[in-house]
Subunit: 269 residues, 2 copies
């Protein structure tokens, strides 16, 4: 058993509370991890915490002791009343633990080695964004670019939905159109740019994705902006067989990314 | 402009409130539709409402008047203060309208004509469930079976996530294992039963799905129960290329259902 960590002061609680605002997170360069599961994922990926706030119940639980066993990565540990922890938390059940860590400094994309880059244009729903990050990692995507106007990748709901993928996959976040254009003309120059668009020219399963692919997915309601769509070498569509207008954006991303993965696997076998 | 509808009495508001409980919905055989979008989807699919509760703001809005133009499907219309409507509603922004309709009497599956049936085993997350119903319709699935222990298909979050697909695709809900076994030995006898399982024998893109397919997707955390898995003719897996343990269940369903759709389209062309 570990010793009881020291109780959080009012100042420390205030600091934690402030980090629940997107603006403060950005200025401070921090993220908040809420709950046992995502903290465990972070530890698995060797994330170091600046501070960890835990409830007494969690401290004495099996999960708590297991997690505290990795305290080398923990920075300062503070004890909070369960009630206060719950008041601060975004989720109804923060499972007794909230951690603060640094925002990942955007890892360098390895453009030379990369086969598939996913671009998200103004994806709004945190669940969709997180699920797309998770799916991209699963499907072997080498890096993600989120364009300005997309939901913050450090949003707590996004983090949860990534199931830890956020700690592994390189992401360039919040890129404006001028910068995006530079990337396409620079490092992305050899890539075939393919947009998912319901008025696309080809079905996604008929497309030639080329040796290196940049695949763009758009906003849930409005798709990809015209200013972004113009960069496409090809627009691909997913057939809607039953009587429905559209697919969920994360599903569309999953279907196309796995088609690309399947093609790459077949090439190599 | 329509005349102002009559104000809801306390009794009617109480009845509406009671329907927010799953048990009451089941006993009464009713569903609740919250918000402009889903009400519009319902009207498009010729759903008749027993009662509609609207706020004054919504009544005088363009959307309100457009919707009220279809009042032949409306049953009784009641006016509610915006504040009360918001208190009752499940969503933060019910967009000024809540409607009560009958639970769809399960439409007959056309087993003879059906090519693909989706079975959901204890899917828990309402968003996942709704997205899977929407995706199934898009991918040309002919019917859905949800096994006992799955989230209620008339849950408000499920309804919203289906984006109207709930009104179109035949669903047999809440089927117990004894009944499911009967179905498999009866109407489903000619179908190849394929389970999505991360320890599957084949990759999903290598599988032969047969002329008629029953595809099973399991619980988000635990997959398909052993008692259900035993009915499989084949278990298929989706490759996890990056460092991640699993896919979101709805994404897994989307990837496999669209593979089946692609195969069927290729056969026919």
């Amino acid at each position: 058993m570990f010793e009881l960590p020291r109780s959080a002061s009012n100042e420390q609680v205030k600091y934690l509370k402030r980090l629940y605002r997107k603006k403060t997170r950005k200025n401070e360069g921090k993220i908040i991890l809420e709950g046992f599961r995502i903290v465990l994922e972070a530890l698995r990926n060797r994330v170091r915490f600046q501070a960890v706030f835990i409830s007494e119940d969690f401290f004495s639980s099996k999960e708590g002791q297991a997690i505290l066993g990795q305290q080398a990565n923990f920075g300062k540990i503070f004890l909070l009343e369960q009630k206060i922890l719950q008041e601060i938390a975004d989720t109804q059940n923060p499972q007794g633990i909230i951690a603060i860590a640094d925002q990942k400094v955007c890892p360098q994309f390895n453009w030379g080695q990369a086969r598939t880059i996913l671009v998200l244009d103004q994806v709004q729903d945190p669940g969709n964004m997180g699920t797309m990050i998770r799916t991209a990692l699963a499907a072997g995507v080498d890096g993600i670019i989120t364009l300005k106007g997309s939901v913050e990748i450090y949003n707590l709901k996004v983090l949860r939905a990534t199931m830890g993928a956020i700690f592994t996959i390189p992401i360039m976040a919040d890129i404006d159109l001028v910068h995006f254009k530079e990337i396409l003309k620079g490092q992305g120059d050899n890539f075939k740019v393919i947009s998912a668009d319901f008025s696309g020219e080809k079905y996604y399963y008929q497309a030639d994705y080329g040796q290196q692919t940049i695949i763009i997915i758009g906003n849930e309601a409005n798709g990809i902006r015209a200013e972004v769509l113009q960069f496409s070498d090809l627009r691909v569509k997913i057939p809607l067989i039953g009587q429905i207008d559209s697919l969920n954006a994360a599903i569309a991303a999953g279907v196309i990314l796995y088609k690309i993965a399947e093609n790459r696997i077949r090439e190599n076998s």
